[in-house]
Amino acid sequence: MKQYLKLAWRNLWRNKRRTIITLTSVILAVLLAVCMRSMQKGTYANMIENAVRFSTGYIQIHAKGYWDEPSLNNSFENNDLLDSLIGNNKNITLAVPRMESYVLASSGDHTKGVQVIGVDPRKEDALNGLSDKLKQGSYFSADDAGILVGDELSSYLDLSVGDTMILLGQGYQGMTAAGKFPVKGIFHFPDKRMNSSLVYLPLIACQQLFIAYDRYTSLSLMLKNPTGQSRTVTELSSQLDTNNWEVMPWEAMNKTLTQEIAGDNAGGVIMLGILYVVIAFGVFGTILMMTMERRKEFSVMVAIGLKRTRLIILLTLETLFIGILGVSTGIILAMPVLVYFKLNPVRITGDAAQMFEQFGIEPIMPASLNPEIFVHQGITVLIISLVASLYPLIYVARFDILNALKR
């Protein structure tokens, strides 16, 4: 094999200029493909991360029927079985209980319908860094009776830290829910809707408000390995009685985002396809030229005893060298660019930013350094290179020695 590697490498550099031009086209295409894919995947990861952290978690457990009818009457009581299942699942890193409902919020002459989320302050902070989003005031603790309010809502209701907000709504099983809560802090999220309509309460205070003691509406789960999400869903579903519980992955709870990502991803794949065609023709042209101009040499090699299969190996190695050199150089050149954009994400402005905010997502495009991107692009370009060399390989398998010798 060493002999073939040596021959293939030297053959590659017989016509330096041509090889460099072909390599440059492969390098540029890989650079472009990797950067494009990295920005896309980074943006998707950011979108998913935001959605998962601020909304659903990777997986949510509800009482059966809650997702279709999100009412306190479809809440569930904290229980040991659930705690033990979650505690024993090695892929689950965090289980965040929440109680969510809608009430009227009032202060002075102003009233507004708001979403109330009762949270475990420590776990919620671990999940989404809620305490870091505070503009004014301080973060609450589990036994606090204070609330956190969005900055736009606080402006609308003319509330400052220390002021009192009245919440009025329907509690568990039709009871009246009413309470006065001091504003402990004012937060700001990238999503305007959250800033104008969201109130956080410590879980215990929230359960007291809705007279739903020791009950949750959802349990959001964070995972050590998100790629093992479906396995975790299957495990939990098989361990829980599905007549009483529903275990849902984030994709099922956030279909709009899933579709948005799928649509955008399809556009990206088409662009990649165009790039791949460019790569394929560049490699095809070079390998074809390298084959045709060496017909006589090939015929001599076969005449003196080189098997055609070995000749095919030789040509394949030449193609692989172009592919590997192009892919590795492209990736090496892309790395500093991607690291920069990972650390300094592109900030989106204008209409596009609004679209991001609609989904509660920070309008940034960070690059992703997920090794999968590089591996996929690398393997794809190598496969394309090999496919592009099929015709020359077929020629080598079939060419007539005598005709080629006469040239």
Binding site: Q3, L7, R10, N11, R14, K296, E297, V300, M301, V302, A303, I304, G305, L306, K307, R308, R310, I401, L402, L405
Partner: protein, 234 residues
């Protein structure tokens, strides 16, 4: 009784190239070549010399007849078996040298032995010996394009001889060489024929080559018209 020293036997060999007008290049040739022969196949252009050599070398298949190499009918071998057969039994020297341009002199000579899978010591010893005979030790690490035509053809002969084949086929080996290079090449081929007892068959128009041949087979219009040692061929 058969001569056990016969290396090549051609039996009623015919070759017709099909086309709008079929061309009969070789017409019923019967020949025997013994071990260690140094034979020139001569004749005018188009008389079938190259076709005959190609059939002996398994590069072309006869339309009729047989090519027996040490009693093995090579016409019956598959293309893949023929490649293997050539690798182990035949050395080729081409008119235009046809060395592998990306390999050095040493690597070109070693190429066939490497294909045969011989060990490094064997290869190195043989290459060193041949380079010594060629008088080209100082050029062993340079590529063919830096050599003269004569030097390249000497390397091509060394390549053909490196694997100690049963016989060497050379198609017009001196056609592109000046008289000094021709002289040097013939001396090399004669030396190897004498010292290693390797059979040489070469087609040629070159009187200097014919003068060195032990036997001359003359072809005309695809048939053998003369076979034997001659003083001079007009």
């Amino acid at each position: 009784m058969r001569n056990t020293m016969e290396v090549i036997e051609l039996k009623k060999l015919h070759k017709t190239y099909e086309g709008i007008v079929p061309v009969q290049a070789v017409k019923g040739v019967d020949l025997l070549f013994g071990k260690g022969e140094f034979t020139a196949i001569v004749g005018p252009s188009g008389c079938g010399k190259t076709t005959l050599l190609n059939m002996i070398g398994g590069l072309d298949a006869p339309t009729e007849g047989q090519v027996l190499i040490e009693d093995q009918d090579i016409s019956a071998l598959s293309p893949a078996e023929l490649v293997d057969f050539r690798l182990w039994n035949i050395g080729f020297v081409f008119q235009s040298y046809n060395l592998i341009p990306v390999l050095t002199v040493k690597e070109n000579i070693a190429f066939i032995m490497e294909l045969q899978g011989r060990n490094h010591k064997e290869i190195n010893d043989r290459v060193a010996y041949l380079l010594d005979v060629l008088g080209m030790k100082d050029k062993m690490n340079i590529r063919p394009r830096y050599l003269s035509g004569g030097q390249q053809q000497r390397v091509a002969v060394a390549r053909a001889l490196a694997s100690s084949p049963k016989f060497v086929l050379a198609d017009e080996p001196t056609a592109n060489l000046d008289s000094q290079s021709t002289e040097n090449l013939l001396e090399l081929m004669e030396t190897m024929n004498r010292t290693e007892d390797i059979t040489f068959l070469f087609s040629t128009h070159d009187q200097r080559v014919m003068d060195k041949a032990h036997r001359i087979v003359t072809l005309e219009d695809g048939k053998v018209v003369r076979d034997g040692k001659q003083e001079k061929v007009e």
